[in-house]
Each structure stands twice: as C-alpha cells, then as structure tokens.
C-alpha cells in the first residue's frame, strides 16, 4: 500500500509502517526475539534472588500471562465504571 487512506494531501510521502505487511514483519520479528530470549535460558543458567524465578522462561511466561489477564480484567472493570464523558458536568 503506497498511499494511506488517512494521509493528508500535503504529506504524500509513504512511511514504512504504512504497509501492513511491514507491521506483520515487525510483529514476527518481536516473536523471534522473544523466543531467542527464552532459548538463552537453556544456555545461560540465570541466577535470581528467588529460586523459582530461575525456571526456564519464567519471566516470559509471567509477563505474557500478567498482561493478558491485566487487559481482560480491565475490560471487566470498564463494564462497572464506564460513564458518559460529561458524567460529572451536571
């Protein structure tokens, strides 16, 4: 895609991230980096203050699960606390 449909007429230049294929490349790249980091755990015996945190991939799994549950919980929270934007105005 050479021309984003949102881009203003004054900016005809197209950016690398405008192409969804590049975004997908970036996304896959991050997965590769992540998996390499987990693979490092097999080579490098990580030392940690807490023994269970030395398990292979502990931080990777914890980070992923933490963020997914954070977002899912926040979605539930939104159901309870969401009000119109002018709620406090009158």
């Amino acid at each position: 895609m050479t021309d984003s449909r949102h881009s203003a007429s004054t900016h005809e230049r197209s950016y690398w991230l405008d192409d969804p294929a590049n975004v997908t490349r970036l996304y896959r790249g991050v997965w590769v980096v992540g998996l390499l980091l987990v693979a490092t755990d097999f080579v490098l015996r990580r030392h940690d203050d807490l023994a269970f945190a030395e398990t292979v991939g502990f931080y990777a799994l914890y980070g992923f699960v933490a963020c997914v549950s954070l977002v899912l919980a926040a979605k539930l929270l939104r159901r309870a606390v969401k009000r119109p934007e002018d709620y406090y105005d009158h």
Binding site: S4, H6, S7, A8, T10, H11, R13, Y15, L17, D18, Y27, V30, W31, V33, G34, L37, V38, T40, D41, L44, R46, H47, D48, D49, L50, A53, G57, F58, Y59, A60, L61, Y62, G63, F64, A66, C67, V68, L70, V71, L72, A73, A74, K75, L77, R78, A80, V81, K82, R83, P84, E85, D86, Y87, Y88
Partner: protein, 563 residues
C-alpha cells in the same frame, strides 16, 4: 557549619519577582534562577544547618544530609527543565507560580523541623493550585478546587500530628516518627495524601490532567515526591507500607488500560510508580531506601519527559485523547523519539534509568523473603510497560493514522525533552555515577547477564501480549468516557447525600414553620374572640395597678439585696 542562604529561596524569590519582569525577559529570568540554585546546591555538604529560635520553638530551617540533597538535586533539575519547556509562555501566572512551587518543595525537603516543613508544605499546595487554575477552563477550576481542599487537609493533618507529637515529646524535630503515638498516625496520613495512598489518591488523577500542557509537567515533579521524601524520612521500615505500596503499584494500572485521556493514563501510572517507592520505604533496609530515592529521582525525569511529550501533543493538536490521536510520528518524529525514551525508562529497559533504580527495590523485597509482594510488583512491572511503555506512544504516535498533520513541537520543548531523555539514558548507562548521590553506599550491580535477560523476557513478552490482543481485536478500544474511581464518593455520593439532607431538613423546617404559623393564627383569633367577649386576660388592666406592682418588685429587690 551554618548556611547563609536556605536552598529554595532563590526559586521562591524569582517566582515572586517574575511578574514584574518584562515579558520578553521573563523566560531568561526564570531560567537563571534554577541555574543559580543549582550552583548553590552544589556548594552544600551534609551536616550544614541553619537554626534559630522563634517564639520559644527551636527551629531548624535548613538541614543538609544525603537524603535531602538527593531530592534537592532532582528538584532543581526539574525546575530547570520546566523553565526551558515553558520558555514560550507569555502569561505571568503559571511560570511565576510554578517557580515558587518548585522553590517551596525544595525548601520543604531541607526543613529540619515540622513547623518549617508545614509552612512549605502549605506553600506547595497554594502555588500548585494556581498552576492548575492557569489553564483557565471550568474543568480546571473545579479540579483545582478539589485539589486544594485535599491538599489543605493534608496540611491540617500535618499540623495536628506535629502538635500532638510536640505535646508528647517536647520536640519539633523531623526525624524518624513511627506509629506508637497518635501524632505519628496523623503524620502518616498527611504524608499518605501527598504520596497518593489508596483511597487518598484521586486528587492526582483528577487535577494533573486538567492543567496546561506545561503546567502538568511541573506538577508531576514535586508534590508526590515531597510526600515520598517525608515518608522515607519519617517512616522507614514501617511494615504496613509494604502492603500499601503493593496495592498502589497494582490497582491503578487497570484504570490506566481503559483511560482515554493519555495524561490521565500517565497520572495513573505515576500512582503505580509511587507504589514501588512506598514499598521501598516499608522494607526499610539501606538497599530499599536507596531504591526509593533512586526511583523517585528517575521517575521525576522519565515521568516529566512523558508528560512533556504529551504536553507537546496537546499544544500542537489540542487534544491528548487516545480516540482522537494516532499516526503523529509522521508530524512529530522528535517528540515521538523522546516519548519512546521516556517509555523505555519507565518500563525499566536495560540501558534506561528505570532498569537501574526499580531493581534496587525489587531485589530488596526478594531479599526480605516477601514472595507474594514480589510477584505482585512483578505483575505491576509488566503492567507498566503495557500501559505506559506501549499504550502512550502507540495510541498517540502510531495506531491508526488519525490524519492529523501538525508542526513538530517548538524548539524549546524539544530541547527540554532532549535533556530529560539524555538524563534518563545517562542514569541507565552510568549507574555507578548515579548511585554515588544516594543516601547509602550501594553494593549492587544491575548489569548481570541474568538480570538483563530476565528483564528483557518480561518486557518482550508483555509487548507480545499487547500485540496479540491488538491483532485479535480483544484489546479494549479507546472510548470517550469517564471511569468512576474512588473520587465518585465525594464528587457524587457525598454531594447527593448533602443535597438530600438539605432537602429533608428544609422540608422539616417548612413544616415546623407552618405549624407555628397555624398556632399563632389560632391564638390571635382566640384573643380577638375573648376581647370582644370581655373575658379574663382580655382586659389590659389599669396603669396605676401596673405601677404599684413594679414598685413592690423594686422594694423587695432592695430588701433582698441588703439581707
């Protein structure tokens, strides 16, 4: 050794004089003040003091030690950054009030007794509300009003706690306090309001996002960090603080995920960072207290940088709502870059400041054997990257292109952001140099292979979680909305209760009035009837008779008097 010039006074003086300086020269004048203050601060060494006796109270106006110096350095850096960032302002109110505010906060961290602390504590509250009101909007006015009520409540608690302590100990000196006396509890509450403890926190998310593009930057630096300083001085090793801090680190991030106003997201994330600092105070070891001071120092810089980048966006586009933004990296590439540095720092990426400061606290918690707290804090660390590290830059500068084409931020803003970004990276790259200004000697090495890999795993997989949720459409979209928080209790529930009570009371008063007026009408009618019928009590009696009775009374009074 005695000091001639208390630190902070230069800033206060400059702020007070600034309105008189011609508008063209004012920015330079307001930049010179923190520069001079910085030079002055570098000449101070621990052990210096300034004491005097006022109305029989032994006051210590200035006490220099390593704890106050560390906060002093970062406060003066923050006021310098603000002076550059707000260089383009032509109004009198905000920059002048902001400089007095910065000076008051700085004077407060050097105060050696509660009375001096109280004076500057109140001065920060009054000047900060002027900064909020400088926005000039209805929302800012109301939020500022709520802000000042809460802050003055903190001041009242501080005064009451100090007075109670004085009655019991006979001293006003501000040192370790403890909770064994009621005065200590009041002081903890006073500090807790400034630190935004759970349920005492909403003034922060309420007021800061309502200030101007520049005002929020200066507000973010001082009030909460002054609270952290006071907590670190007064309550190190108070175990309760570990749980309070853990709750602070965890809860705000849920709100940060669903909040639309990106400066409010940052306010929630600030609350979360304050949580880490409070935990550090609670653990109370040299390592953890170093962590608290280091993280407060780093937070002022990276949170200031993030608020600056959002301030630049607000200035150029007129909004910081996630719903209206996106794709701004095309128009504001430098601001985008600086924002990403701030985001990497708050997320504790290796080579950025958060990595070398937050880990001091995490290591201290783990070393204390507090596994549950450590796991919650690790959850909060992942969450920080998620909502502040990714969400802020993503929704403002990337996401879908909202079609906004604007100019890059003005040069002065870019310079301020550049300096802040350089400091964030500097701290991350040269931790030993930075550690040398902390209160205690540091024997901690952040850059071990294990630590770097562990942190990168945590962050990369948090990013992947965000990406997966985005690409699958599970991630909640940004929505224009208000999210109810604890402040609902006083902004709605209490208001309703007051209205209902007032309505109830006035209805009862009306009923009572009606009864009285009915009774009076009836009595009058009775009197009229009796008069016309010539009955008892209806005749007025004779004047002679009355005079006689008065004489009898006076004589008996005279007689009684002489008996």
């Amino acid at each position: 050794m005695t000091i001639d010039l208390p630190p902070g006074l230069l800033l206060i003086g400059a702020g007070l004089l600034a309105p008189l300086v011609p508008a063209r020269l004012r920015p330079a004048f307001l930049l010179l003040a923190p520069a001079a203050e910085f030079a002055h601060l570098l000449s101070l060494v621990p052990g210096m003091t300034l004491r005097s006796e006022v109305f029989g109270f032994a006051l210590e106006w200035v006490r220099v030690d390593r704890l106050s110096l560390a906060f002093g350095y970062v406060f003066v850096i923050a006021s310098l950054l603000y002076a550059v960032f707000a260089w383009h302002l032509r109004g009198r109110l905000e920059p002048s009030a902001a400089m007095v505010y910065a000076g008051a906060a700085m004077s407060a961290v050097f105060a050696g007794d509660f009375l001096t602390l109280f004076l500057y504590w109140e001065l920060t509250a009054i000047t900060a509300v002027l900064v909020i009101w400088a926005r000039g909007s209805e929302h800012a006015f109301r939020a500022g009003f709520r802000y000042i009520v809460v802050q003055l409540a903190s001041g009242v608690l501080l005064a009451a706690g100090a007075a109670w302590r004085y009655a019991e100990t006979g001293s006003l000196a501000f040192g370790a306090i403890g909770l064994d006396q009621p005065g200590g509890v009041l002081l903890l509450l006073a500090f807790g309001i400034k630190c935004a403890f759970p349920f005492l926190h909403n003034w922060l998310q309420d007021a800061y996002p309502e200030a101007t593009a520049t005002g929020t930057v200066v507000l973010s630096a001082f009030t909460t960090k002054l609270g952290i300083y006071a907590l670190a001085r007064g309550f190190p090793g108070t175990e309760m603080l570990i749980w309070i801090g853990t709750a602070m680190a965890a809860f705000p991030i849920f709100y940060a995920v669903i909040e639309n106003d990106l400066r409010r997201v940052l306010a929630y994330s600030m609350n979360n960072q304050l949580g880490f600092m409070v935990v550090g105070v609670g653990v109370g070891t040299e390592l953890s207290l170093n962590g608290t001071v280091a993280h407060a120092f780093a937070d002022i810089l990276f949170k200031g940088l993030l608020f600056m980048s959002m301030g630049a966006v607000l200035l150029r586009t007129g909004t910081v709502n996630g719903t209206n933004l996106g794709g701004l990296y095309k128009s504001m590439p430098w601001t985008t870059g600086f924002c990403i540095v701030g985001a990497a720092s708050i997320s504790a990426f290796p080579l950025f400041s958060g990595f070398v400061t937050k880990s001091l606290i995490m290591t201290a918690v783990a070393g204390d054997g507090r596994i549950v707290e450590w796991l919650i804090l690790l959850f909060a660390s992942a969450g920080v990257f998620h909502h502040a590290g990714i969400k802020i830059p993503y929704f403002a500068f990337f996401a879908h292109d909202a079609g906004i084409r604007c100019r890059e931020a003005p040069a002065n803003m870019l310079i301020a952001m550049g300096i802040a970004a350089a400091l964030c990276i500097g701290i991350g790259v040269l931790p030993d140099l930075f550690y040398s200004i902390l209160p205690f000697a540091v024997a901690y090495e952040p850059y071990t292979a294990s630590h770097v890999v562990a942190q990168l795993q945590l962050l990369v997989f948090s990013a992947l979680a965000f990406a997966v949720l985005m690409r699958t459409g599970i991630y909640p979209p940004e929505l224009r909305s208000v999210n109810l928080d604890f402040d609902w209790l006083y902004r709605r529930a209490a208001l309703r209760a007051v209205r209902r009570t007032t309505a109830f009371t006035s209805a009862r008063i009306r009923q009572l009035g009606a009864i009285v007026s009915h009774a009076a009408t009836w009595a009058l009618a009775q009197g009229e009837r009796r008069t016309s019928a010539g009955q008892f009590m209806a005749d007025g009696g004779s004047t002679r008779g009355m005079a006689l009775w008065v004489m009898v009374m006076l004589v008996s009074y005279l007689v009684l008097y002489y008996i």
